[in-house]
Symmetry: C2
Subunit: 766 residues, 2 copies
Amino acid sequence: MQAYSVIGKRIPRLEGIAKATGEARFTDDLTLPRMLYGKILRSPHAHARILSIDISGALRLPGVKAVITGKDVTGKPYGVYLRTSEQYPLAKDRVRYIGDEVAAVAATDEDTAEEALSLIRVEYEPLPAVFDAYEAMKPGAPRIHEAEGNIAGRTAKTVGDVERGFSEADYVREDSFKMERQAHGPLEPHSALASSDSSGRVALWTSNMSPFTKQLLLAKTLNKPLSDVRIRQSYVGGAFGGKSELFSLDFCASLLSLKTGRPVKINYSREEVFAATRHKFPMDIYLKTGVKKDGSLLAREARVLGRAGGYASTGIMAVFIACTSLFDTYKYPNLRLEGACVYTNLPICGALRGHGSTQARFADESQMNIIAEELGLDPVEFRLKNAIRKGDSHPLNGKVITSCGLSECIEKATESSKWKEKRGKESGLQTSEPRLAGVGMACTTGYTAVHISKLSSSAAFIKFNEDGGVNLLTGAIENGQGTETMLAQIAAEELGLRAEDVVVIDGDTRDTPLDVGSFTMALTFVTGNAVKLAAADAKKQVMQIASAMMEAPASQLEARNGKIFIKSRPEKGLSFAEVVRTGLIKGTPILGKGYFNPDSEFLDVYKGEGKWVGAYSFSAEVAEVEVDRETGQVKVSGSTFAQDCGRAINPMDVEGQIEGGTTLTHALSLREDFFWEQGKLLNPSFLDYAMPTSLDVAVVRPIIVEDPHPQGPFGAKETGESSAHTGAAAIANAIYHAAGVRIKEAPITPQAVLQALREKETGFRT
Amino acid sequence: MQAYSVIGKRIPRLEGIAKATGEARFTDDLTLPRMLYGKILRSPHAHARILSIDISGALRLPGVKAVITGKDVTGKPYGVYLRTSEQYPLAKDRVRYIGDEVAAVAATDEDTAEEALSLIRVEYEPLPAVFDAYEAMKPGAPRIHEAEGNIAGRTAKTVGDVERGFSEADYVREDSFKMERQAHGPLEPHSALASSDSSGRVALWTSNMSPFTKQLLLAKTLNKPLSDVRIRQSYVGGAFGGKSELFSLDFCASLLSLKTGRPVKINYSREEVFAATRHKFPMDIYLKTGVKKDGSLLAREARVLGRAGGYASTGIMAVFIACTSLFDTYKYPNLRLEGACVYTNLPICGALRGHGSTQARFADESQMNIIAEELGLDPVEFRLKNAIRKGDSHPLNGKVITSCGLSECIEKATESSKWKEKRGKESGLQTSEPRLAGVGMACTTGYTAVHISKLSSSAAFIKFNEDGGVNLLTGAIENGQGTETMLAQIAAEELGLRAEDVVVIDGDTRDTPLDVGSFTMALTFVTGNAVKLAAADAKKQVMQIASAMMEAPASQLEARNGKIFIKSRPEKGLSFAEVVRTGLIKGTPILGKGYFNPDSEFLDVYKGEGKWVGAYSFSAEVAEVEVDRETGQVKVSGSTFAQDCGRAINPMDVEGQIEGGTTLTHALSLREDFFWEQGKLLNPSFLDYAMPTSLDVAVVRPIIVEDPHPQGPFGAKETGESSAHTGAAAIANAIYHAAGVRIKEAPITPQAVLQALREKETGFRT
């Protein structure tokens, strides 16, 4: 393995001190002179027609500077896909969920803005609402949009001959699984601060995951050219997929600022974040799987129903990702998938870490264990037998998998968790032990750089400073996942500098070059490569100057740790400062540029076509649980998670991602849940939506496996997303191991466990 | 002449609306949370040793957060040249002029800071002071620095055989001229706002002319690496050379912020701007010139004494520029120059528009008229006969002059001003007219991109937005001279876009690439070329994509006004947006980079060596005056100024520069003056320092002459600086024409004119 100086080092976050001391200023920490405060009026109806809006009372209130409604939206509606570009930042004529945005005000203080909302008179005509996806699909159900059967989109694909596969199978198994909604729960509630000028330009600081996507959507809805809309760099206090789209506050702050000529800030309350941003898609998954006695998988048929809210958002993609996630961890020669995304009059769902895959992996990995159990196979052997391997082609799109550490992940996770020893133990069910212990495994495939946008590339600029340090300009944004540090390490390694020699400037659409965004698992792969190429471009220029100074061909030179030397004489050499300064004096300031586009194709989510992924990463998790026989309560007592991330640019960061991702899904699997009454969310608060605290979570043991990807920057692939895939099935399988009960609905509630235990022990179902 | 779409167009300033509406935020318009206010304690002595400073009283005052003195300066002293890097931002042990910086405080408000200054006890030992440059050069004079005879630097050069030249001359003329100090008088007083973080990084908004120079000097004095010091983009309310150096407020705001962990703002009062920033160098110039009867110039000997203040600043350069300015408008086969810069205990002098040249051209062009008068030659013919021309080599450095419109400027200025008609009139001296009218001419050579720094190049980045517009990143700064608009025009022309398609991002050392700065007349030539090259780089990429889309070789394509078309079919074509978007989808975002270094050499001011200039520009001014016989008051009734600027990127801007430059020197020539009492400036206010208002200035008729320079961007050379060269001599020559009196000292006071008139009319001198 090549010895790196900066890559693979456990470097603390560049922005760590600022965040730890509180110096980091998030959007809500910013205040501009003459700033106004905005508030948004939301629909109390799950489904209603807007007959009229009277804003005159609000406008008369002293301190109110502007009121806007759907009539003021002159731009186009937005959405993740063209076919479902259906949402206006303020509703035009209809509201589709409780919380849908109806009007917004700007006033001199928050109290006045709040009071002004109460003075807006909206006349609604309530319409029948539908909250259940199956009800929504029935003929005669209320139509939420134009789509027939309220189906926002469908996807379907067949490979091979599924019927023949089933007929040749020794065993065919059918199961249905269900997973409910989850909230992102970022520590920073969404906040937006807009500032405009009299030429009609607007600048927005906002909680976001991609300044360039935000810019595009905001310009579209404001009906302005891109150059009139600037997204400015903000610190973002956690995103997890939940800050990727345009939100009403982005638009309203901008338009209110343009209307008033003053800066306008809008903060969402925690209740608004919970009830009116996005949730993870709840999904129902049916699997029919045919298998040989020896454990060879022959065929699978899968059906995925994604239950969307009042607008589709990323629904079609989530359903497709769930479908594909059912077929690319283990090999299926014959497969058929079908998916649909259905509108309901509930709050909107969108991207959340593990987007579609978490739901699918819960189903697939649960069924894998069920089949192993039925056929008397060792679940680890069963997995290894069918595991996808390097050189295999993806069953849906034929893309060859050029880096695959799945088997190694399985081996390392079982070894490190003492799987055999723990698995060997009998279930304590026959004893009088009050707590039953068990271990369960689940595996997954992660997607690096999902090609869902026509704009899937990143660019980067590098400029050398006179003192030999560099400034890296990138449109990436740091959401807390360590982006800046990782990009600095890539630039430093490529250049031969130290990480601290790199100043990262990011997240501003005006000052930094185009970037793919901190989503679709693209950042390390796409932006990382763009940065690497920009660094290589700059390095070539440095080496040319050094070559002349040292009277040696550039090919004989090497740079490392801030020094440039002749390979054969590493003890001598020049500092970058000396070389760069000489270049400057000769009139050659050093500028590097780079851009990267993965060799992938646009993903057609409807047909499941296109080589739409940059690289695949692989993981295996072993979860250990304790089941309380008396309460049905399940506790995760530990988790071992091995991930092939290609190359860990910063192992500390990869480990942090693994800890975060597994914990997120453990929480979804066991405790986080929403409660509803006629479309109204009953628990939109941290008090009632029981996110775990640090005391509630299991210790996670991360294991890094590295099978470098030929196209990855220094071999790196996705990390962080797929650690959220496996938790639910690993826990369900461990519960089965501990207590012999199989739960197919997540969150796995104590009630469900208790009921299953009772049935198991009495044979009596009530 | 090539037809341009954007170059040569009268485009209003890009930042015009923001400035007109007051939206443009200058440094003092910025406020940061928890911001402190700083004030600086200044020396009341013209020359003294600091024995002790007791800051305890100030520190005890509630609201005072920090007090710093020279002891807190850990970095190196600064100066324009290495040999005179002699100034600390707070004096270490000695003060050298009234106003020298001794200590600084940061407090919660300005009043408290002011009060704290009064509580600092400084014990001084007064030293003998010297205010006259000749006294300072005498043996036994007080030593202000180490330099013997208080001579900060000397320059000398001889070309040809001066003695033989004089001996072969038919006429040899000797004269001495004197020009006094001038203030820049920017509308915006110097202001600095520093913000630091706990990692020791500091960001500074400050009135400046080159963020990168400011960064370098600030890092040096703070003893920090460059990457820890960021200069941020500010609007600057006029500079005229007076905001180019590091000032004590830059350093003190930064260090006080680092010490307190809070933002610190320091504003200079108008009195501080007048008495403790910089003035134009006063100079005494002796000329001995030998000429043939036919008007051929044979030899000249010149001596220039620059009278500096307590620190040398740009003094050596000013003296050298004055010397060279005496020899490169007209040809001299034999020449000898000698210059010296002398310290005095007066406030510091530095760069001011026309730096050295204004002083020299007053002397040279006055003497040219004296000689013409003595020899009975027509002053215009005399000038044209000796004028430097294209193909000539510079007498001092041998650089060939490749673009020269001097003769054309003389012809156009005389024609447009009806010179012959007005000049032909007899002086009214023999009549009883109360006001005597006259016209006078002066010419000059301007320097483009004076190579005084080892860092003489600029770089630029261009990135295309999805909508076909571009963002231009440049380290240039807009001081009010139209930089942003000019650079946008260059980028737009090169790319084939409209100027409004270009967003200019400038003036931030962190985000934008290195720039030479808005001084040394380098910006249009150096940065303009860097921008042009970055645009060409980006265009090449656009054309490659367009070539594939249009199925035509790139060489057959042309871009203009935002459209790309096949040359032979201009009616068809694609928009930039279509091409750029196609590139993005294919994964090729378009990034351009460029840098430019003129083919000049570093100027050795001491030896007068090096081909230190990028290009020469040329001008001729005809001033018309009215002399009031009773009061001696001179009024400029009009001015015609023709300038060869190579190519007017934006003629409106060139005209604005000409109007500003001529007016500045008319004011210096006739009304602006300082008054002193033992080194104390008696008139540091706009009330007492009589800068003209718009009602006081003459109408200027600008004439643009274009002899494109082969290396200039679209042929452009310097403009704006040399319009400040000619006013004093043109006025003095016009006064002579009007009243027959020759005044050799500027400002030309009514007293001097009255005395000369009396002598002229009575033959009696008193």
